[in-house]
Amino acid sequence: MKTKFLTILSSFLLMFAFGFSVQAQSISGTVTDDNGVPLPGATVLVEGTQNGVSTDFDGNYSINASNGDTLVFSFVGYTNQSVVVGSSATVNVSLQPDNALSEVVVTALGMKRNVKAVGYSITQVGGEELSDNKTTNAINALQGKVAGVMVTGGSMGAKGSSRVVIRGTSSLTGNNQPLYVVDGITINNSNLGSAGVWGGADYGDGISSINPDEIESVSVLKGGAAAALYGSRASNGVIIINTKTGAGTKGIGVEFNSSTQFDMLNLSLRDTQEIYGQGRDASKVSDAIDTYQAWGPKMDGSLVAQWDGVARPYTNKGSNLDKFYQTGETYTNTIAVSSSDENGSTRFSVTNLDNLDIVPNSTLKRNSFGLNSSRKYGDKLNVDVNMKYILEDQEGNPQLSDSPGNGNFAVNLFAPSVSVDDMMGEGGLGRNADLTEFRISDNTYSQNPYFAAYNFINSSEKSRFIGAVNARLDITDYLYLRGRMGGDRYDLHKTSSTPWGTAFQPNGSINENKSTFKQYDVDAFLGTDNLQIVDGLVLNAFVGIGTNVQEYDAVSKSGSDFIVPFLINVGNTKNQGGGYSYWKTKINSAYGSAEFGFQDWAYLTLTARNDWFSTLSLKDKVAPNNDLYTSASLSLVLSDVMDLGDTVSFLKLRGGYSQVAGGADSPYALSLSYGIYGQGHLGASLGNISGGTIPNSEITPFEKNETEFGVDLRLFDNKLSIDATFYDNETLGDIVGVSASATSGFGAALANLGNISNSGIELLVKGEIMRTDDFAWNASINYTNNTSEVVATNDTGGNISMDEPRSRNLNVTHIVGEKYGALYGSSYVRNDAGAIVHEMVNGIPIPKIGARKILGFGVAPTALGFGSSFRYKDFNASILVEGKTGGQIYSGTNAFLIRNGHHKKTVPAGGREAGFTPSGVMEDGSSITTSIPQSQQEDYYRRTYSIAEEAIQDSDYMRLRQLSIGYTLPSDMLEGSFISKATVSLIGRNLFFLSNSTDNIDPESAYNNGNSAGLEWFGLPVPRTIGLNLNLKF
């Protein structure tokens, strides 16, 4: 405090001194870019003199100049501006960029750095990329826009979670998603509930809470050098999101944004046979209750008794997907009020999102409130406060994967002569008159889709608060102290219920779960900004300490067998149980960074960080519970020191080496513990071993080492830019479940034995193809290719099995020497010539089931995106086409469509009546001569269900991902009104495929966002979206 007072006092004295000696005054102000974002390190020069200063962290400067002097403001990548000093002591300047690229990037820990100095690959995306064509889970709008970042999401419904993988998967079994930092605070992104092999519903993830309308910019830190300062949680990269501040508003500004979107099914995806109706063995009357089988005779219009005994015409009823799914609707409305003055800015926003999913009775309501305030106190102290409060209500989350409760399963499998319109039932909503389930199958676990959609409950209420305070105190000219404190807390209440009257659980059940998650981070660091050590050598450095604490507790109560039907209350059940779970972890860290800038063209950045993990601590443990990791990166701006001709306007070479520690996410994993479960039995308590993984007391974090080098080349006056990065990373000592045979009593043991490497290339080419006063055309191509290799799995180099689909004939497996995530499943038996070997069973040749083999890989290695944006006078349009190639998918839907006679391949040329002779050979090598008659063809295809290879396909696609056309009202039209800017845009997402190598499903399907990519099992279809967006600024 004293120091501050003294500093202020001395400043005043100095000012007076100067004021008396020369007829000059102190001119001060803020330099911002064209978006209002402050530009640190911009140069303010009194023209014709050596008198110059740089702007500070917040773009502020203070310089002495006389009346009539010209101040020249300059910053790399922006056009210089000159302002003549007049009577006003405040000169604020907004610099216009030379081209569309911004030269300031937000790097780790909120440091704004000049792109010149950054020695690693970092991509920045403006907020409008995420809000113009918004998705209910904000991060999905990033698909196809950033090289090296693979985003998959969408087939788990509007409320579903997303999977973001940067530079390949770094951990064989652990978390592979990046760290999300919002306004300087790390937020929790865990998945709040997901579907697995036995079914379940997806309750979304952490990033889905962030409001796309409030995002100002997104920085993706892809590699270790970029992320090293965030510590072990950033081993998969960091996505930094900054929300809008009020900066740059003139006076008080109000912004209103309204968006309406409609989601529609892409019916062209599914192309199944429509000739043969329900039946078995070519008979339309056998097994009326088995509505999934399409092995009946040709549909001829005759009346046939269906599953409920009612006679209906035996004709093609049309697409059940079309009948069951509805058009989804999403309405998002935002109002934001912001203001700014010379001491800071404030922005307050309220957003309401109302979504109706394509599955009936599935809704999402989200209200988000945000308050961002940035204040300067005196000359030295800057304090930013960012708060977000989100209230979310989800109802009717659709169940995915396995069939119980999963209406998608039934709707996809009904035979063509069966119509879902007939399944509402006498009691309505899929129920009989007595309100029990109106069954549509002999298997109690196959759900009537309307019964599933309208009567099962999978809902959640969430309230979440994310708050951060960032403060910076400038102690002297080049010494500062920064502190950050922030927290993320959510309270979640989940309810799931199987209704009374369900076929597989006649008396129903209910589960209530209330959980609270709290996370807080506190950091303090001391640093220097632009400190000249010697002539030509500038140092930016800081040293800091921090702590991250996470705590979770949950109480649940469940009950089965409702006493009073339809009274949905867990107290109203006969058999009740419950549980309590708790965990807490802490990570303490010490870190530092030093960036040496040599003559403004060469920069060397060194970082070091040491993390101490509570999750790796155990009494008497020998291995350490902490890890030190370092990084070094170099940036050389060759265009500043060499003459490269007129074509080259900027050339930077960058490269570096980094280490990051990671893993060690789970607490209590170092020792075996026992628990009491259930409620006892006949007076005895029930206790057993907790957990199915053998603990390892000597676990250490894994180390991920990465080498990267890249080129940033801009040609033709920055009209064409090429950014290429090559990277190679390796994770050593990955914590893997060393697979144990289930007969050991456990599924796995933990050990630091995994080793996975990824190498690849990221390429981003951007160009301004044309620009006139009226018309501009910018295009970009981004290309990512990642090759992964499982270098080591465990002590014996055995396979690590991950998830399996419900058919249980395949596992996503990590195999040494192969790429990540092999689809390892049962295959056809083939002879040397590759012909499929058959065996005679009951007089017909059926393919033999062969051993498990690698059938493909679930992660596509290559992604390509083409984007173009146009501007013509007041119109603007943009288009993004993107696709992936090189991966495979195991489709449970197709496995069933083939087995049950829906898939077109089950109809031979000439129809089923003509019989078909399979291609292949018999066991003795002879060619097959038997023609399988229609009544036995289903036995052939029933066998193929057990052969995983049959349902494996390439998952390559290229699709029109985003399209938007917008119109900004010309300012003369708005003159006189209080509207300062109005924009209307028409948007579309996932409109159509340019190519798709899968049958009947969307190639991006999945039923959870976990590590077992490549498994599809009756998830939701990815819809096409069309919408309208209106943005008004007052």
Binding site: Q505, A541, Y677, T743
Partner: protein, 491 residues
């Protein structure tokens, strides 16, 4: 400049003296769990896990075995055992469930007692239960991990070897002998003994009865050993009345683990029917109206009880509700007991011993009749709603169908088959050993057994990846991982 460097230097000194991981060791201990529990708290849990949950009882016990040996039948396509389809997940369900629960826990209890130096009743009870658990697994699958199983944590064995069934049997018999000897007059298990409530005499009786059962299993493979151990068991003292029945009493809740696994299946699955084979055999048997009831209206009138032939499909049977199903008023309850071994079985095995001329007090006929009586009268003891079968009814039955020494083995085995209803593991094992009752296999085009009744259930193919070498060795020794490969004692 110098000041800056000095500041940083001072800072690093300060930082290096900080204890950055203070309190971390305590933080990493789960406050909601315990580092060890008393064996009494674990025992009831492992017994319930042995009885099993709905999952394995549905798949291994009912969907496969109950219809394979034609106690039940079903037209539903997923009842794979009726027409001998291959469903990996169903066939391996006992294995998938037992090893990570019952096996793991019983090995943990045994290890805990060993480290506590306990060689008394608790150790004896644990070893008897342990043998029972493994006997189910080996009878069903053949060679299995046994000596190295369940020791992932205690001994770090992640890939247990598969022991030859012969070695397993010899070890199990020895275990039973030693275990019974360890049982004293009382136990500290307390309420944890939910099978016999601390009655040590019953534990001994069960231990010896298991010895008799396992011994008799070996009649095909090694008759001499079978004889020696059977006689040893009889001499040591097996069950003497229905009060000694080894079973687990279940309750209707509060949670799934408390309920009878079969009972939970019957709640969820309305597809099983009484097999025609079984109903026809139960003609004039007072047990029929207790065990069966007509699906459509629950009638237990004898004329209304018709069994559905195995191998029926939706095409051959228009309306399955005319057939009899397991009596939902009596034997299918969630609170029904799960029976591990009955006194009736013991008498019938003794009858067989007598039939073979082995050393057992009493002749075959006496044991046979006592076995039939026990099997009939145990129903009212096991199931609350079962009608009591009077001595007179038993006598009438035995008079009408007297023991015929010429077909002695057939009659004994068929009674055994009837007495082990809902203990399908035992029923399937004894049918394989004796060949009785004579069953006609179904012959569906989709069958994987060449039109024969399976002789085992397959190993999980996951073992191919997680335990490759041992798995391959087991197959090389026993035969292909098919439903038709015979286990050692069945050869």
């Amino acid at each position: 400049m110098k000041k800056i460097l000095l500041t940083f230097f001072a800072l690093s000194l300060v930082l290096s003296s900080c204890e950055f991981d203070k309190g971390f060791e305590e933080l990493n201990v789960n406050p909601a769990k315990a580092s060890q529990l008393d064996v009494a708290n674990k025992f009831a849990s492992v017994i319930l896990q042995t009885s099993g949950g709905r999952y394995e009882n549905w798949r291994a016990s009912l969907i496969y075995q109950s219809v394979m040996i034609q106690h039940f039948s079903s037209t539903a396509g997923y009842w794979s055992g009726d027409r001998y389809f291959r469903n990996d997940g169903y066939a391996t369900s006992l294995w998938d469930r037992y090893y990570p629960s019952a096996v793991k826990e019983i090995e943990d209890i045994k290890a805990q007692l060993t480290s506590e130096g306990n060689s008394g009743s608790e150790m004896g009870m644990t070893r008897i239960l342990r043998v029972f658990i493994y006997s189910r697994l080996t009878d069903l699958h053949g060679d299995i991990p046994y000596s190295e199983a369940g020791q992932g944590y205690t001994n770090g064995i992640l890939k247990p070897k598969y022991d030859a069934q012969q070695d397993i049997y010899m070890d199990m018999l020895k275990e039973l002998e030693e275990a019974v000897a360890q049982i004293g007059s009382s136990t500290t298990m307390g309420a944890g003994d939910i099978m016999f409530g601390g009655d040590m005499a019953k534990w001994k009786a069960w231990g010896n009865s298991m010895m008799l059962r396992l011994a008799m299993r070996l009649t095909k493979a090694d008759s001499a050993t079978a004889k020696a151990w059977a006689e040893k068991a009889v001499a040591a003292g097996t069950m003497t009345s229905n009060d000694h029945i080894a079973m687990v009493q279940h309750t209707d809740g509060p949670e799934g683990i408390n309920k009878n696994g079969h009972g939970e299946v019957f709640d969820a699955d309305g597809n099983p029917r009484m097999s025609k084979t079984f109903v026809d055999w139960l003609k004039d048997d007072p047990r029929l109206p207790i065990l069966a009831a007509r699906r459509s209206d629950g009638s237990t009138a004898i004329a209304d009880l018709i069994g559905m032939p195995n191998g029926s499909t939706g095409a051959t049977v228009a309306d399955t509700s005319i057939y009899a199903e397991p009596n939902r008023g009596v034997i299918t309850g969630r609170d029904a007991p799960m029976v591990f071994q009955t006194y009736a079985e013991v008498r019938l095995l003794k009858a067989e011993m007598a039939f073979r001329g082995w050393s057992v007090p009493g002749d075959a006929k006496t044991h046979y009749e006592a076995g039939v009586k026990a099997a009939m009268q145990m129903l009212s003891q096991l199931y609350t709603n079962a009608a009591v079968i009077s001595d007179a009814q038993v006598a009438d039955y035995l008079a009408a169908k007297p023991y015929d020494a010429a077909k002695g083995w057939e009659m004994i085995s068929e009674q055994y088959w009837a007495a082990t209803l809902l203990n399908e593991y035992e029923s399937f094992s004894n049918w394989r050993r004796t060949g009785y009752p004579t069953l006609t296999p179904t012959n569906d085009p989709g069958n994987v057994t060449g039109g024969t009744i399976p002789r085992r259930l397959i190993y999980p193919t996951g073992e191919e990846s997680t335990n490759a070498d041992n798995f391959a060795a087991a197959i090389a020794r026993q035969g292909p991982n098919d439903f038709t490969t015979k286990v050692w004692w069945d050869k």
